[in-house]
Assembly symmetry: C2
Homo-oligomer: 424 residues x 2
């Protein structure tokens, strides 16, 4: 975090990965489009980060009755803000989110919970909400107590700067080791009318394919019932952040929150075409953000998708994770080396006592291994393919009916440098 | 493998880790002591490795009726030599072992099995044994077919050079990315007399805490029943190679074989003091070899032991593996950074849905986290402690009665360099 330059502009256009289908009814608005109607945000530097970079973000929904949904890490050692938000918030009607970077407020015990509660109370007062309507989120180093005084000053400063185009500052305030911005504002054409959908997201390290895995805040001016918001967020998180791995490390602080202001006047009814179309837009948005998170994996130079098909959901999942988290596969990806023997090894290591397992492997559509054994293939074509910025591996296990995918980054010397130097 | 300088002399004395107790009745003999009575070995360069380094090793027991035991990888995609040895050898009465480096003969299908069988037959002929008495083992890159012709020439050349002090050459022939030798010859004083015990071992990458994880060949001139050999090898492997992790990657080729010539005339009866004392010696030998393997983890600069105690064996095991395999913990170890927040995070990530988990953490005996929360401690003392060559982490989970340990290496930029460059 310290000494890292501020995040750069993200790649344009926003939908740039071949692994995301941008729906025809979705239009990307520019980086200055601002938030959907009914939202204000701000980000300020409150001195929590030694670098002096922005570190306190505030997001407010001005609707009469906002509707929301949230997902949090399943870690056994969640940070204090996660516990507090889970236990003390009305997660279906959040009105505001207070976020800080520079300190995760994790492994901080009862004092950490009390400190998180203090900042929740202060933010509620500052934005005119009840504490239960304010979610709190933190990111940064684990094991330090939250600098509450700095955060209170940050809340006051942020309140004074809340605005409808504060999403860029808000984004900057939630970043840690991110090398580029991960945010977008979309216009979504639904049968019942147009709505806007925006998101700000942070995450580069400690990212694993097991829900949430980072901070992501999503705003829309569509109206919907709490159950609809919960369903849509849940399904889309499972297909995006849940399938992304930088280093297989489940975070203590993962949080994803969707808030709906309803300010567009367009209402999304359950099981309607509106719901389907809105879901497609949210799905594309979160998948592209998840892929950007992987591409921003600390030190990442190349990213990959592994698709595993077979007869057993558990085996397919275990094999996909094993490949995505194998340091040997990731180092080969980094080196632009086909080395698919390591893929076979990783699958075999994940599925013990199944020998001999009939594994098929294809790289960028070229079959290289069939039923566990090497087959003749065009070596030069495969070597060229793994030089690309995105590489796709397909793995076949016996049987059919189950399929999954994981997006992952390579393992570079820079990953080690970043994480050996990032001190407590 | 290619371009890497030949392995250097190992650290002396052989028993140098504080984590291994060298029993008082065990005496280390020098590197030139040779093999126990009844054994001959050789290692030659047969042109399998592009570097021209030795790559074919042959080990023979000249006893009338050798007794042996073996353990192999539990991978779902084991290499051909593992399958062949498991299915076609009398593992309790092996007389010889043929090993090659430079090619793992893994992911090679039916042809790989047939090639392994050819070399087994040739080795049997060369040493005057039956094929079922000859185990085969391979190590090197996965996915290439075995160069049988080179191996046959190697067998002939090795046969001509078999000798009682051929263990050094044999050792060199089984190495791949090893930076230093991992072998020893010990004299063990038992109540019934003195015996010798020697071992040659290779392993530096693709090493995981799930039995075997490398090649290790153990010879003794003690006599014992097959059940005794199997029991002793099984128990000692569980306490050594089973507890070592370089990168959490279970290999396709892991093999550990113990052969007893009985040439000393000292017989080890079941449940005798001889068995106890011999077991202590074998345990110390394999534990020290396992720790050397971790210390030789590709690019490793610093090694660690994590000890986890708690009430549930499965949780304790999952937590220990998660810490040992966390790239974030390993990078911090490399950087000499206490960063114990990553230990809490790794434990929480391994034990999902248990929040809030009361985790205790101590570094080199200094408690830093109690019941999941940071506590005051001498930061300078801890920072000094993590600069040492060996670092110890202790983790407490709720309850008691279960305990485990894992030895692991750090994650360095060199690990990435070695594994991004090591081509198929």
């Amino acid at each position: 975090m310290s000494g890292r330059p501020p995040a750069q502009a993200p790649p344009r256009p926003f939908f740039h990965s071949r692994w995301v289908q941008a729906p025809a009814h979705v239009r990307e608005l520019g980086p200055d489009a601002g938030l959907p109607a009914g939202f204000r945000a701000a980000g300020v530097a409150a001195g929590i980060k030694a670098s002096g970079n922005p570190d306190v973000g505030l997001l407010v929904c001005d609707a009469q009755a906002p509707v929301s949904a949230a997902r949090f890490t399943s870690s056994g050692t969640p940070a204090a803000p996660v516990l507090l938000s889970l236990e003390r918030c009305r997660l279906d009607s959040l009105r505001a989110v207070l976020v800080n970077s520079g300190c995760a407020n994790a492994a901080t015990g009862r004092r950490g919970l009390e400190d998180a509660a203090k900042t929740q109370g202060a933010a509620a007062l500052a934005v005119g909400a009840q504490p239960a309507e304010v979610a709190v989120a933190s990111t940064g180093g684990i094991s330090h107590q939250l600098p509450v005084d700095a955060l209170l000053k940050g809340i006051l400063a942020a309140r004074a700067r809340l605005s409808g185009d504060g999403d860029r500052d808000f984004q900057r305030a939630i970043e840690t080791t991110d090398a580029f911005e991960k945010r977008a504002t979309l216009e979504v054409d639904l049968p019942s009318g147009s709505v806007r959908l925006s998101a700000q997201c942070k995450g580069a390290g400690m990212i694993s394919p097991r829900f949430a895995t980072m901070l992501c805040f999503v705003e829309t001016d569509a109206a919907m019932a709490p159950d609809t918001a919960d369903l849509l967020l849940g399904v889309c998180v499972k297909r995006s952040f849940d399938r992304a791995s930088v280093d297989g490390q489940l975070s203590t602080n993962d949080t994803a929150i969707l808030i709906c202001s309803g300010a567009s006047g367009v209402s999304i009814a359950p099981e309607s075409d509106d719901e389907l179309r809105f879901g497609e837009a949210l799905d594309a948005l979160l998948r592209q953000l998840a892929i950007m998170m992987v591409a921003d994996g600390e030190g990442a130079g190349r990213i990959a998708r592994v698709v595993v098909r077979g007869g057993h959901a558990e085996s397919v999942e275990a094999a996909a994770r094993a490949v995505a988290n194998s340091p040997l596969v990731k180092a080969a990806l980094h080196g632009g080396d086909p080395n698919w023997g390591r893929i076979v090894q990783a699958v075999g290591g994940a599925l013990v006592e199944t020998a001999p397992l009939a594994v098929d492997v294809a790289i960028e559509g070229v079959p290289v291994c069939s039923a566990g054994a090497t087959i003749p293939y065009d070596g030069e074509a495969v070597e060229r393919a793994v030089q690309a910025r995105e590489v796709e591996y397909e793995i076949g296990l016996p049987g059919d009916g189950a399929e999954t995918e994981v997006f992952f980054s390579d393992l570079s010397q820079d990953y080690v440098r970043v994480n050996a130097d990032y001190t407590t």
